[in-house]
């Protein structure tokens, strides 16, 4: 038995762990009882730890084929996006959708249907998956083609339809390893949302919010737009090696910081500093892909910065029509509580896809808090506000939501459960999260 948690290191679970190196290992594990597959452990909460067996899929990390004309990759579930970028960016291809870390596995990205800064135009990770091979409760491998029932449940299904073994994904052709970033400071929440609406045709769009400042300036932020740089966007000296970007030093956080390190004062200072620093350098500039998409990856163990108790993420989506009042209510509740999220990210979502994926047309807000009684109390308040505005919650972030909140937020739960009963997945593919939420 091992104590294992998600990336937030909140409330570890006692679990057995086994490593799968091939599908025979997965079949053998299935014969032994309930399990959940785990990729690189970047889900924040308890999505990828099981009260039974946690099956480490990192041993299945082989790339099986690549079509250099269409940019189509077939790979095993344990391959990381970082591996995909390392192999194919030099050949002019980039993941079509990427979350805020490159250290997610392909299987995990599909299971959570992760989204990136381009969801408003392109949809989530699943929109670029052609098929997924899943080992079901009967131990048989099914190839779920895009559009099929099994595919639509598996993309966003949090590994609860079976073990994702392999997938075929489509990459995006790029001319360079650089992003043209355009940073714009806003003064109020309304202005932030106005700006995002007005720039809805930007390929990448995300806003960082200052969630400390109260009053009229509440929700001021930095809207960060971006697009892949074309060859002619690069200064002449970079054009000869357009995919060469500066190698960043890898930093580690070798010890847990004391919980007090990220306290109210430092979070306030950080929020104000981040805002003013961003305001000083508005307008377009070139940023390398790693700094643009994955700023936090530069510190390998950044999750230790919150101390031993860990941290908890909160991410909800609100439908378009409720987004303005809803976001104002959420930010108001945070400011009133005296808590401050270190990083608060607002993002426009495009249309809903799949049968259990998180995104819905509207806006999503992601927050992180150190795990303590006050922040857990605040999150109950945020749950209620989200429900009042017809929103839903991101399971890849969740570590603490009560079952009743999940059921109230998402009418799709009943159908998801029925599907799990029918396929035999219900008793066999079990995570601590699926038990907590009764999925």
């Amino acid at each position: 038995m091992t104590r294992l948690s998600g990336w937030g290191r909140f409330r570890p679970v006692e679990t057995r762990v086994a490593k799968a190196r091939g599908e025979a290992d997965v079949a053998a594990a299935l014969a032994g009882g309930p399990l959940i597959a785990r990729g690189n452990g970047r889900a924040y909460g308890d999505s990828a730890v099981s009260p039974g067996l946690t099956l480490d899929m990192r041993g299945m990390d082989r790339m099986l084929s690549f079509d250099p004309v269409r940019g189509v990759l077939v790979a095993e579930a344990g391959v990381l996006l970082a591996d995909v970028i390392a192999a194919f960016l030099p050949r002019g291809w980039f993941p079509a959708v990427t979350p805020g870390t490159k250290f997610v596995s392909l299987g995990g990205a599909i299971a959570a249907d992760v989204h990136g800064k381009n969801h408003h135009l392109d949809g989530g990770f699943g929109a670029f998956v052609d098929w997924v091979e899943v080992m079901g409760a009967d131990g048989k491998i099914a190839r779920a083609e895009a559009g099929s029932d099994l595919f639509d449940w598996t993309v966003g299904g949090m590994g609860l339809t079976g073990v994702i073994l392999r997938a075929q994904i489509r990459l995006r052709p790029v001319e360079t390893g650089w992003i043209v970033q355009d940073m714009r400071a806003t003064q109020t929440l309304a202005a932030t949302i106005d700006m995002m609406e007005a720039t809805n045709d930007a390929p990448y769009s995300v806003a960082w919010l200052d969630c400390v400042t109260q009053g009229a300036m509440m929700g001021r932020g930095l809207v960060m737009l971006g697009r892949h740089a074309r060859l002619e966007d690069l200064p002449r000296e970079k054009r000869r090696k357009p995919f060469a970007t500066p190698k960043k030093p890898v930093l580690r956080l070798p010890v847990d910081l004391p919980a007090a390190a990220l306290n109210g004062v430092t979070r306030r200072v950080f929020n104000a500093g981040y805002y003013w620093n961003g305001r000083r350098k508005p307008g377009p500039r070139l940023v390398d892909w790693d700094s643009y998409f994955y700023p936090l990856d530069a510190i390998l163990d950044w999750n230790r910065g919150y101390g031993r108790a860990g941290f908890v993420q909160f991410q909800c989506a609100l439908p378009q029509e409720a987004a303005r009042p809803g976001m104002a209510a959420l930010l108001g509740a945070i400011a009133a509580s005296g808590e401050a999220s270190v990083l608060s990210v607002l993002k426009r979502f495009g249309a809903e896809r799949g049968r259990f994926s998180f995104p819905m047309a509207g806006y999503t807000l992601a927050l992180d808090f150190p795990a303590n009684d006050r922040s857990l109390k605040l999150m109950e308040r945020l749950d209620a506000i989200t429900l009042d505005h017809g929103g839903r919650f991101y399971l890849a972030k969740d570590a603490r939501m009560p079952r009743a909140v999940m059921e109230a937020a998402d009418p799709r739960v009943a159908a998801f459960r029925a599907m799990r009963e029918r396929s035999g997945a219900a008793g066999l593919f079990v995570s601590a999260q699926s038990e907590r939420l009764g999925l």
């Binding site: 091939g22 041993g59 082989r62 790339m63 084929s65 591996d83 390392a86």
Partner: protein, 248 residues
């Protein structure tokens, strides 16, 4: 030998976690890879992986380390005599079972010493005739001193370590270099389920990178994590009268 590494690189015992990591490290440098194992059909996915990631040529070869009589033929049939040959063949087994049944012990001796020594011996002779090449033997810190908890495996590795040392001595000045790798604990199938201290436990890709660096720099003996040099120095310094009463 130092500077840019040249292929092809032969990996013996290619099904192991360390072997996979080595193959990737050398393929990332553009080297052609020859993967050899008892059942090469099981290496198809690894071949696809190396070709897909790195665009290098990969060939699969059947070799049984225990069939010493076949080794001349196996090496003769390789498409090219490799520039680098890495032996990741090994078998640990369970110490108590090995000690209780000498047939099991003999299998461990043969898998960790006789087989690897034979394969690398054949390769070394041909490399010597050519006047170039690098031999890499993955041995173990377990061979540095016999301990009650692991001496069957450890004594076979001790033999292998001494063999590599002698081979290096023989081939020095003949254009062929020999690297001895003493990896310490590595997170592989072999150590799965053991409760091992994090600072002493290397990941397979660390071992792969360390071996690549050792080949490029012409190092003789490497520990993957430096701390193992200190740990083994301490273990080797304990007087036998005291050591025999310890359980390390």
């Amino acid at each position: 030998m130092s500077g840019a590494v040249k292929g092809p690189v032969l990996i013996l015992g290619a099904g192991s976690d360390i072997a996979r990591a080595c193959a990737r490290a050398f393929a990332a440098r553009g080297c052609a890879i020859q993967l050899a194992a008892r059942d090469p059909a099981r290496l198809e996915a690894d071949r696809a992986d190396l070709e897909t990631r790195y665009g290098v040529a990969v060939s699969l070869h059947a070799v049984d380390a225990l069939e010493v009589e076949s080794h001349e033929d196996v090496v003769a049939r390789l498409p090219d005599l490799p520039m680098v040959a890495i032996c990741a063949v090994g078998l640990m087994g369970d110490q108590d079972e090995n000690a209780g049944d000498m047939r099991r012990a003999a299998l461990v001796f043969r898998s960790n010493f006789e087989g690897p020594a034979s394969l690398l011996g054949v390769l070394a002779n041909r490399m010597e005739a050519r006047g170039s090449g690098t031999i890499v033997g993955i041995s173990s810190v377990a061979g540095e001193r016999g301990r009650a908890s692991n001496y069957i495996y450890g004594s076979a590795k001790a033999g292998f370590t001494a063999y590599l040392s002698g081979l290096r001595n023989r081939l020095a000045g003949r254009g062929v270099h020999v690297v001895t790798v003493l990896p310490g604990f590595v997170a592989t199938k072999m150590t799965e389920g053991m409760d091992l201290p994090g600072p002493l436990l290397a990941q397979p890709d660390e071992v792969g990178r360390a071996i690549l660096a050792a080949v490029e720099k012409g190092r003789d003996v490497i520990h993957v994590r430096r701390i193992w040099r200190l740990v083994m120095a301490v273990i080797k310094a304990i007087p036998e009268g005291i050591f025999k009463k310890t359980s390390i």
